[in-house]
């Protein structure tokens, strides 16, 4: 690990001021950043600890939630309003990592997790455009069973590892940001970038910009929602494919639907095409399958990950079938 200075920020303004003055990174629970620093994939010269700033979940009268960025993953998953009104979010968090890591990890840090592509981590033996822009990507012709099938580019086929973000994408979550330029909000679906020619740019965050909160708008559809994660072992593994879904029915018709996929792209993948195909249609297995087909029509398999296309279609269909049966 390279040397760095450590400062505990007193408040958000203090954090932003400190981060602007140095080549700093914000430190949350450290569960990803400390590992990346140990591997010298991240080499900040200063860490600004923001873990004691702004935690807690605010319930608004309109049914929306404001989740402060330093809220721990466990605290979010065990919150009553999340469990009962946004079950997809609680399920997604509980499907990720281990209890120890969820106790440490913050919401802001979860959003800023970096890919677990093994070629990205292998700095001594592999080429990676994310690590060294322009160097090339060894994953494209390599062992790419875990890699992207949607939205990838000739520069990068890495996937985003978060489960929580897949649920947030489905729930129309909005990320609250603050920097020396002031505050702004960005929909979670627009927060992460697709790799295109610049895979080293993973989010739209500006210099020293800090995630202060995530807002969940009121969502009647979210009561009937869930998350299913398919992985190589039953627990404590990253997703091959995951599906966050919410369904609102009216007399057997799909009144509203939200669908997002994990493990398939450089960002949490909101399945806009599948949603559009389903709205107003009968909630039948046949229509669920057709919607999944529509979403995956442009999927591009690599050498080892073609199975993900069929797996994603089957998982979407199965999850929507399950939701259609749920009594709420």
């Amino acid at each position: 690990m390279n040397p760095f200075t450590y400062t505990r920020a007193l408040d958000t303004s203090d954090a932003i001021r400190l981060a602007s003055a140095y080549q700093a990174k914000y430190l949350g629970g450290g569960t990803n950043l400390v590992d990346l620093m140990r591997e010298t994939l991240e080499r900040p010269t200063a860490l600004i600890d923001v873990v004691n700033l702004s935690s807690g979940i605010e319930e608004r009268d309109d049914g929306s939630l404001l989740i402060r960025a330093a809220t721990r993953n466990t605290a979010l998953a065990e919150h009553r309003a999340v469990r009962t009104r946004f079950p997809v979010l609680a399920r997604a968090i509980l499907a990720g990592a281990s209890a120890q890591i969820r106790n440490m990890a913050t919401v802001g840090g979860n959003i800023l997790q970096r890919t677990r592509c093994t070629y990205f981590y292998d700095k001594d033996g592999s080429h990676c455009n994310k690590r060294v822009p322009g160097q090339g990507c060894d994953a494209i012709e390599g062992f790419n069973r875990n890699h992207a099938i949607l939205g990838a580019s000739p520069a990068c086929v890495a996937t985003h590892p978060s489960d929580m973000c897949v649920a947030l994408a489905a729930l129309d979550a909005v990320v609250h940001l603050r920097s020396t330029n002031g505050v702004r909000t960005v929909p979670l679906t627009q927060f992460h970038r697709l790799p295109e020619g610049r895979p080293e740019l993973e989010t739209i965050l500006g210099p020293a910009e800090l995630i202060t909160a995530v807002a969940l708008p009121p969502a009647a559809f979210a009561v009937r929602s869930t998350y299913r994660k398919v992985r190589d072992r039953a627990s404590y593994a990253f997703a091959l494919v995951s599906v966050a879904a919410a369904l609102e029915l009216d007399n057997g018709l799909v009144k509203d639907v939200r669908l997002a996929l994990g493990g398939v792209a450089h960002k949490p993948w909101r399945a806009w095409k599948a949603e559009a195909a389903l709205k107003g249609q009968l909630a039948t297995e046949e229509n669920f399958r057709a919607a999944a087909e529509a979403e995956l029509a442009e999927a591009k398999p690599l050498r080892d990950n073609g199975f993900k296309i069929g797996l994603a279609k089957r998982t979407i269909t199965a999850v929507l079938n399950e939701l259609a049966e749920v009594r709420v």
């Binding site: 690990m1 430190l27 450290g30 400390v34 140990r38 120890q100 627990s235």
Partner: protein, 168 residues
Amino acid sequence: MQFTINGKPIEREFDPRTSLLDLLREHAGLTGTKKGCDQGACGACTVLVDHERILSCLALAVQYEGRSITTIEGLAPDRGLHPLQQAFIDHDGFQCGYCTPGQICSAIGMAEEIRRGTPSNATCNLSTERIQLSCDELRERMSGNLCRCGAYNGIVDAIAEVYAEPRE
């Protein structure tokens, strides 16, 4: 910098790069907590911070200044055993023993989460206030602790003996 480790105040100065795991092992002389993977994948380094289980290898020690840390050395009274330590012996909950301190600290943290009603990926009804520690719940909740000897059946039996309520 000051910490409370196993109930005793200690003061140490160290490089900010030091993990909580290295602080415990190298600076405080408490080698019961084990370094397995040193990258958050195995759970051998699990300790309790203010009764909550965390991975000490991914924790920068500076972040935990002023906190109360409990390691395997601090669980039992002098010369005695914590009931869970005795249960691990009774149920052959280990072979080489390297993962055991992490398993035991993790299980104690898990019991606190159960008491609080924290759901897990194995919890069918998310709105339930009361979690029953079934075999599925126990295995899911302990999945962050790997055992390369594969002593899982003994580990599950030991934890169930201490924390699972008897079936009616």
